[in-house]
């Protein structure tokens, strides 16, 4: 069995697993399971990156996505809902419309890909050390340099950091109105809904 055949089989196997976990991510009724499925999808994507000769990216994927993002998501799941809580089923009509949109999207784009002539695959040796190449590109300027987007991304991350803290912080007591996060009792008027499927009642989460 040639290396090409192994690669082909590996591609289909990972693709199938990836799709399976992706579907699990969007359909699992327990959010925690969905998060775990998402983690698998991301890990499998790292595999794809390896297959595509992007080993550094695979590492970043695992570190940032799996190690960071999925963990944050799990935290939020824990914060906003009980682990045992089953997500309510979406309305059937919404499901049908969503499926229609998804299938329509897939059909359209797949048809585009299948009818497009991408030309022959370029045949060139990949850079020996992709990490070095990426680092150089990120700090370079010119036709293949990305230093400005890199800096913009760093600003974005900083803004996200500050914004996340500002938004998620608990509202201060009324004695400090100037530091209001925008959700003083007087600024938001609503009646807390009666929660379903929650044996503990609403007060414990407030």
């Amino acid at each position: 069995m040639s290396e090409g055949a192994v690669e082909t089989i590996l591609f289909y196997a990972i693709a199938a697993m990836s799709l399976f976990f992706a579907i699990a991510t969007v359909t699992a009724r327990r959010l925690l399971r969905a998060a775990v499925a998402l983690m698998f999808v991301l890990v499998l994507s790292a595999g794809f990156y390896v297959m595509l000769a992007a080993e550094f990216l695979a590492g970043v994927q695992v570190l940032v996505y799996v190690g960071g993002i999925v963990v944050v998501i799990v935290f939020v799941i824990m914060l906003t809902s009980s682990v045992d809580l089953l997500e309510e089923r979406p309305p059937l009509l919404r499901k049908a419309l969503g499926a229609l949109a998804a299938i329509g999207f897939f059909g359209t784009t797949a048809a585009v890909y299948l009818t497009t002539d991408f030309g022959a695959a370029a045949d060139a040796a990949p850079p020996a050390e992709s990490a070095r190449a990426i680092g150089a590109a990120l700090l370079d300027y010119g036709p293949h340099g990305y230093v400005v987007p890199f800096e913009v991304i760093s600003l974005l991350l900083l803004a996200a950091l500050v914004g996340g803290i500002a938004v998620a912080r608990r509202s201060p007591p009324p004695s400090q109105p100037l530091t209001s996060g925008g959700d003083l009792p007087g600024e938001v008027s609503f009646t807390p809904p009666k929660r379903q499927n929650d044996p503990e009642g609403g007060a414990s989460h407030a």
């Binding site: 919404r94 419309l97 969503g98 229609l100 949109a101 329509g104 999207f105 359209t108 585009v112």
Partner: protein, 668 residues
């Protein structure tokens, strides 16, 4: 304002005060005194009307000294202002028109109204609606004066409706009483129906007058120059009654089905006049209107408002006379009503209803007096106004006297009164004066005016009408003495009548004043004050008329004494002898029942109900359908905006895909 008008005496230039004073008083009494201190509302309202009467007296004095004595007094418009401007050349003014009849009516309305106001202070004393009563009474007086001084046909229409409203309000004054509410509605609906004709007539006159204004207007304007305060307008009476215009309206080119347009318009106008003056087919509201307080009956439904119809015909008399046919209609309706009401009046038991039918009968008298006149034979015109003048006094007196009696006895039925002569001597005396006056006994006022009317009928070449007039005179004397005998003579028929007391001073003072006026009003040299067209030329008593008329009166009085003095057994026997005929008359010839039949059985069932059904289901249905469609569409479209992000997402993706497919298919 033209120089001649500016040179008029102050009081004439400010004659609008006559109507303005009651209006200000109406607003003040209605808005301030009625809710705060209703006790003094009566005094203030009364004082304002006396003030207006004073102004009216001044106006009359100055008006009659404006022109050399003996000559005809022309109409002047000493005050007017622009009210509505539709376009240049089409303006509606409000103002004051002074001519002999409007000055006469000003005097009559203000003086009778002032006395009735004074009387009401006593009559309505302690009534919970005291303030409201005087508010309405002031409103009525203002409206009536505005009607009287109207210089154009639109102003008269506006105030015509205002007096209708005040009449409605005052008939329904005791609004807790279902019969009063029904009566007020009846009066309003019947007069409204009549006013429909009036309105159409106004529109015909106004439209044709306006179209002809370019040709005829300048001529008329030249003739009246110096006599009116503003430019001549197409709606002014001075223009509408001008022979040049009337000739155009009567032209064969405008005739409809062989009847000239002028005749049609004037008959329609007369329809309104007949409604207000309760002429025969439209008379049904007036007897019921007696549900209102008695001073109201005296003021509105005897002395002033109901003569507005006569006044309107007199105001447009040149037009009626030019048409000829319309004037004949006036005469026939008037004569018939006169007899018809007099016959019914002989059988009624309610003292106020008898007086109401008497009013109808006398109004018919005035109408046919106008009907027998002509521009070159204006005796009937003068006589009609003369009778209007005297009738206002003695009929108001009769009503106020009846009110005093009702106030004392607490019943309207004459069969529960009796022997009030000793209990209420002043009321008795004044009532007797009025009864003699209306019966036409010399030297009281009714004798003179009735005499004039009969003379006018005889000389106008209408012997049948003259005969009818004589018959009515006899009947009038009969039914008036019938109630006089039953109420004041004989014995007390009910315990209330035994405990009656004389009315207080504020009530009998107006009675006494009115009695004085009723007695002497006949000696006014009326012909030298009021006339139209040619010189009246007739003064004094015409024995050829006076003797038959007095004989008729005396016969009526004698018959009444014969039948009703003593225990009235002869009257009962007479009624039984007449049998069915008596019952028909007593039920007022079943006119009310006929109306009910026509309206309920025919109009309501076969016309109104289908129309109501059509309106409710077809017209409203269309409206509702359009509303429903809009709402339904809105809610359907609104469902797209459910506030749910994911639904928006579906539409976003769907739309994107659609665009993508469109672009893609266009690419190939």
């Amino acid at each position: 304002m033209s120089g001649a008008v500016a040179a008029l005496p102050f009081i004439l230039r400010n004659a609008w005060l006559v109507a303005a004073i009651p209006f200000v008083s109406f607003v003040f009494v209605g808005l301030v005194l009625r809710p705060k201190v209703p006790r003094i509302a009566g005094v203030v309202a009364t004082l304002s009307i006396f003030a207006a009467a004073g102004v009216a007296g001044g106006v009359a004095w100055e008006y009659y000294h404006l022109f050399p004595p003996g000559a005809l007094h022309p109409a002047i418009v000493p005050f007017a202002f622009e009210w509505l401007r539709f376009m240049p050349g089409l303006t509606v003014t409000m103002g004051v028109l002074l001519d002999p009849i409007s000055v006469l009516l000003l005097l009559v309305v203000t003086s009778v109204s002032a006395l009735v106001h004074l009387y009401s202070i006593g009559y309505m004393h302690g009534d919970p609606g005291f303030g409201r009563f005087f508010t309405f009474l002031n409103l009525f007086t203002f409206s009536m004066l505005g009607l009287v001084i109207a210089p154009n046909i639109l102003q008269i229409y506006v105030f015509w409706e205002l007096v209708g409203v005040s009449s409605f309000l005052l008939i329904g004054y005791y609004y807790e009483k279902p019969s009063a509410v029904a009566a007020s509605k009846k009066a309003f609906i019947v007069t409204r129906f009549a006013d429909l004709g009036f309105l159409i007539g106004v529109l015909i006159l106004g439209y044709n007058g306006y179209t002809a204004f370019g040709d005829v207007g300048p001529t008329v304007a030249r003739e009246v120059t110096g006599r009116i305060a503003t430019d001549l307008q197409p709606f002014d009476f001075l223009y509408l009654t001008h022979p040049d215009l009337l000739g155009r309206l009567a032209a064969p080119a405008l005739a409809v089905g062989g009847v000239s347009l002028l005749t049609i318009a004037m008959i329609l106008v007369f329809m309104g006049a007949a409604g207000k003056s309760a002429m025969f087919p439209l008379h049904i509201w007036l007897p019921d209107a007696m549900e209102g307080p008695t001073p109201v009956s005296a003021l509105i439904h005897a002395a002033t408002m109901v003569v507005a119809g006569v006044y309107l015909v007199a105001r447009l008399f040149p037009a009626f006379a030019f048409s000829g046919d319309a004037l004949t209609v006036v005469m026939c309706v008037g004569a018939f009503t006169s007899l018809f009401a007099a016959v019914i009046g002989c059988t009624q038991d309610d003292i106020k209803r008898v007086l109401a039918f008497s009013t109808l009968s006398q109004l018919g008298y005035m109408m046919f007096a106008l009907g027998v006149a002509a521009m070159d034979r204006p005796a009937g015109y003068t006589a009609s106004m003369f009778h209007l003048f005297t009738h206002a006094f003695f009929k108001a007196l009769l009503f106020l006297g009846a009110g005093a009696v009702i106030h004392a006895v607490h019943t309207n039925s004459i069969w529960e009164m009796g022997a009030l002569r000793r209990k209420m001597p002043i009321t008795h005396l004044t009532f007797l004066v009025a009864t003699l006056a209306i019966a036409g006994v010399w030297p009281l006022s009714g004798f003179f005016s009735k005499d004039e009317i009969l003379a006018a009928a005889l000389r106008g070449g209408h012997p049948v009408v003259f005969g009818l007039g004589l018959l009515v005179a006899a009947l009038t004397a009969f039914y008036m003495f019938r109630i006089y005998i039953v109420v004041f003579l004989g014995r007390a028929r009910h315990e209330h009548a035994e405990h009656a007391h004389e009315a207080p001073f504020v009530m009998w003072a107006p009675l006494a004043l009115l009695a004085l006026l009723s007695a002497v009003a006949g000696f006014v040299p009326f012909g030298s004050f009021v006339g139209i067209g040619a010189e009246a030329g007739h003064e004094g008593i015409d024995l050829a008329v006076a003797i038959p008329a007095s004989t008729a009166g005396v016969l009526g009085i004698g018959l009444a004494f014969l039948l009703y003095s003593g225990d009235g057994a002869r009257a009962t026997a007479g009624a039984n002898a007449l049998g069915g005929a008596y019952r028909v008359v007593k039920r007022k010839f079943y006119v009310d029942e006929l109306y009910l039949f026509v309206t309920h059985r025919i109009i309501f069932r076969h016309i109104s109900r289908p129309i109501a059904w059509f309106d409710r289901h077809a017209v409203d249905g269309m409206v509702n359908l359009s509303g429903w469609t809009t709402r339904r569409t809105g809610s359907l479209l609104g469902a797209l905006h459910g506030g749910r992000v994911q639904a928006y997402g579906v539409w976003l993706v769907g739309g994107t895909l659609f665009l993508l497919l469109v672009l893609w298919s266009a690419a190939f």
